[in-house]
């Protein structure tokens, strides 16, 4: 009954049109071509751009700090050094979550929790300094706590091993290592170096994971070798500090330089500051008085008055002057000498520091010639040291000098100078009439930077001889005498102007400028002590001993041979001294403990 099943028959293949297969292949091939084209564009055409874009999003550039170059003295001893330290910083986004540990971190840092919180809040949203420039071992103790969001970076800190001795000269850097005062500022580009950079990956704790490409290494700053001698600088500073304290003066400054090369061996200013303590950075203390303070020099200008008068023939070397008066009237001013003398030759005008004698010389000299002399020895212009804050002082143009001004200029009133200018000007007398430009950098060649003849050698030789008389017995500068050496110099005591055309009777500047050995001068030094308030307030009493103590140490230090017998000198000097003078002179090199 059943019907036999119909035998299964596969459907007969329907022949497909050939175009379908071709179309499929075409589509697949097109797709592949598009993909290849896109890959080409992405990998080859836009490859560098896309790679850079990617790198921007995950790579970091890290600065490699360059160490600031050291400042050395002439024998290579360090005056300023950069030492590696670590600065701790936080990312507040992570660090804020760790408040439970803040107290522990504050203890490790040695600050209060409130200070720590203030520092975290005081920065930006992603960066805040926690502690700057910590000694590496102290920073390591804090980092060992492994607090998320707390990182460190390497920095350098400037240290000044000689402390306050050379502080106003060297200046200092700011916390980022940039010079902002003194030599640190003047030679910042030389000392600073060039920071490097490396690129790579870091984890969220700031630890490096990988570096990409070659790092650009940091170029360390260069070494600055000064002409300063640290030992002489120390003696000058302690001697000056001792004088300022003993005479309860307001301030003091001194410059000691090599008369032949212009190299400055010591440049001190007191009061000074501790350069290793930023709390001590106050303008009144870091001011370098040796170049920044000007004052009316007083009698130390007399040799230049005489030089100008000799050079233009206004006077002859053997001219004498009658100074036997209590009051030499010029216009409505009365010029006086501290001690009345009779007839003085030029040597005696200098030896006894006669104002009347100097005024008489000046009144015989055309003012243009005196002005020219003062300018040529460096007064009224900056010396070219390049120190920030250096002033040129003031020498008013000769056209405006009336007769009173002409007389006053002769003994150092009516113009203002710096201690550095005084030292450089006397160096010209010491150096046979050739002015050498002062420099603070060591001169290995033994020649000056720049030199110029400003007076005939014969005039300089005469002045040297006459100035030697100042430190002999009876001279105003006998306290500057050094056993074993001939010393030439000049004292100065100037009454300070009150800024209203008059003078402050009881305020004086005391000065001594001199050189040694007088027969063959090697070293020249200017000392200025401002406003001493105790004792005999004269340049020969206040400033001359600073010269003696420092110069004798400097002569020994520089290996300058003695040129006279000490015993002979002591015997001839002691004759005319009072007990107090003898005691002070006998101190010799002094024991200027400070």
């Amino acid at each position: 009954m059943t019907q036999p099943r119909a035998k299964f028959r596969a459907p007969s293949p329907v022949p497909l049109p050939a175009w379908r297969a071709t179309a499929l292949w075409a589509v697949v091939t097109l797709g592949l071509v598009v993909m290849m084209a896109q890959a080409w564009r992405a990998q080859v055409e836009r490859g560098p751009f896309l790679r850079d874009q990617g790198a921007l999003r995950y790579l970091r550039h890290f600065a490699l700090p360059a160490q600031r170059g050291p400042i050395l003295d002439r024998s290579g001893k360090a005056l300023a050094l950069s030492v590696p330290v670590q600065t701790l910083w936080v990312d507040p986004r992570l660090f804020d979550a760790q408040q439970a540990r803040w107290a522990q971190i504050a203890t490790a840092l040695g600050i209060s929790a409130a200070t720590l919180a203030a520092r975290v809040r005081g920065g930006g949203s992603q960066f805040a300094f926690l502690a700057r420039q910590r000694a590496p071992e102290r920073a390591a103790a804090v980092l060992a706590l492994h607090v998320p969001g707390l990182y460190s970076l390497h920095e350098d800190r400037r240290y000044y091993p000689s402390g306050s001795i050379a502080a106003p000269l060297l200046g200092f850097t700011n916390v980022d290592g940039r010079g902002i005062e003194g030599l640190e500022l003047a030679y910042n580009a030389w000392l600073q170096g060039k920071a490097g950079e490396e690129t790579g990956l870091r984890d969220n704790l700031g630890h490096p994971l990988a570096l990409l490409g070659a790092a650009r290494p940091a170029q360390a700053g260069r070494t600055l070798t000064l002409s300063i001698d640290r030992n002489i600088q120390y003696v000058a500073y302690t001697a000056l500090a001792s004088a300022v304290q003993r005479f309860q003066a307001r301030s003091g400054a001194a410059v000691l330089m090599n008369a032949r090369t212009g190299e400055i061996l010591a440049m001190v200013s007191y009061p000074s500051f501790n350069p290793n303590d930023r709390a001590d950075y106050r303008p009144g203390l870091y001011n370098n008085r040796a170049v920044a303070d000007t004052f009316e020099p007083g009698s130390v200008m007399k040799p230049f008055t005489i030089a100008a008068a000799l050079d233009d023939g206004s006077i002859r070397p053997d001219t004498t002057f009658n100074v036997n008066t209590n009051c030499f009237r010029v216009a409505h001013y009365c010029i006086r000498d501290d001690v009345r003398h009779d007839i003085l030759d030029l040597a005696q005008v200098l030896k006894y520091s006669s104002n009347i004698g100097a005024a008489k010389i000046s009144l015989r000299t055309p003012p243009a010639d005196l002005y020219q002399m003062l300018r040529s020895v460096g007064f009224g212009q900056v010396s070219g040291l390049g120190l920030p804050g250096e002033t040129g002082g003031a020498v008013p143009g000769w056209q405006g000098w009336d007769v009173a001004r002409r007389a006053a200029m002769a003994y150092g009133y009516g113009l203002s100078v710096t201690p550095l200018q005084l030292a450089a000007a006397y160096a010209a007398i010491a150096n046979n009439g050739i002015y050498v430009q002062p420099t603070l950098l060591r001169r290995d060649s033994g020649t000056p930077l720049h030199s110029q003849r400003i007076m005939p050698a014969a005039t300089a030789a005469r002045l040297r001889d006459w100035l030697t008389g100042v430190t002999r017995r009876g001279g105003t500068g006998f306290l500057a005498a050094i056993p074993g050496y001939t010393v030439a110099g000049k004292t100065g005591t100037s009454i300070m102007a009150n800024g209203k055309g008059g003078f402050r009777k009881h305020q004086v500047n005391t000065t001594f400028v001199g050189f040694a050995p007088a027969k063959d001068p090697q070293l020249v030094m200017a000392v200025v002590v401002r406003e001493p308030t105790q004792g005999w307030r004269y340049g020969g009493v206040v400033a001359a001993p600073v010269f003696r103590v420092t110069m004798s140490a400097a002569l020994h230090r520089m290996g300058v041979q003695p040129d006279t017998s000490a015993q002979t000198w002591t015997a001839t000097t002691a004759e005319h001294l009072t007990a107090d003078q003898e005691r002070r002179w006998a101190e010799g090199a002094g024991d200027a403990a400070h």
Binding site: A78, P161, Y234, A566, W585, G588
Partner: protein, 87 residues
């Protein structure tokens, strides 16, 4: 055909192993660099401290204090200075 496939597979395997080795080498070198940098920093730090220490120990103020206070030295007075002449 079969031999070339095997050769290709071997070459690919060698390349992969090479990549792993290069990565490992880079990592090793990087760690060595990090260690060297850490050592450099530590030595730099030590050098800085020693320089400071040397400068502090040799400071004129310290030497002067020791000379005066511990050794009882003082600068010679003028009459104590004796000049000698070399023959």
């Amino acid at each position: 055909m079969r031999r070339s496939t095997i050769l290709l597979a071997l070459l690919i395997t060698a390349t992969l192993l090479g990549i792993v080795a290069a990565r490992e080498n880079t990592r090793g070198q990087f760690i060595a660099l990090q260690e060297a940098q850490a050592k450099h920093f530590a030595l730099d730090n030590r050098w800085g401290q020693l320089q400071l220490e040397q400068a502090t120990l040799a400071s004129n103020a310290r030497v002067g204090d020791i000379a005066r206070q511990k050794l009882g030295l003082e600068a010679p007075k003028n009459d104590q200075i004796v000049m000698v002449k070399t023959p």
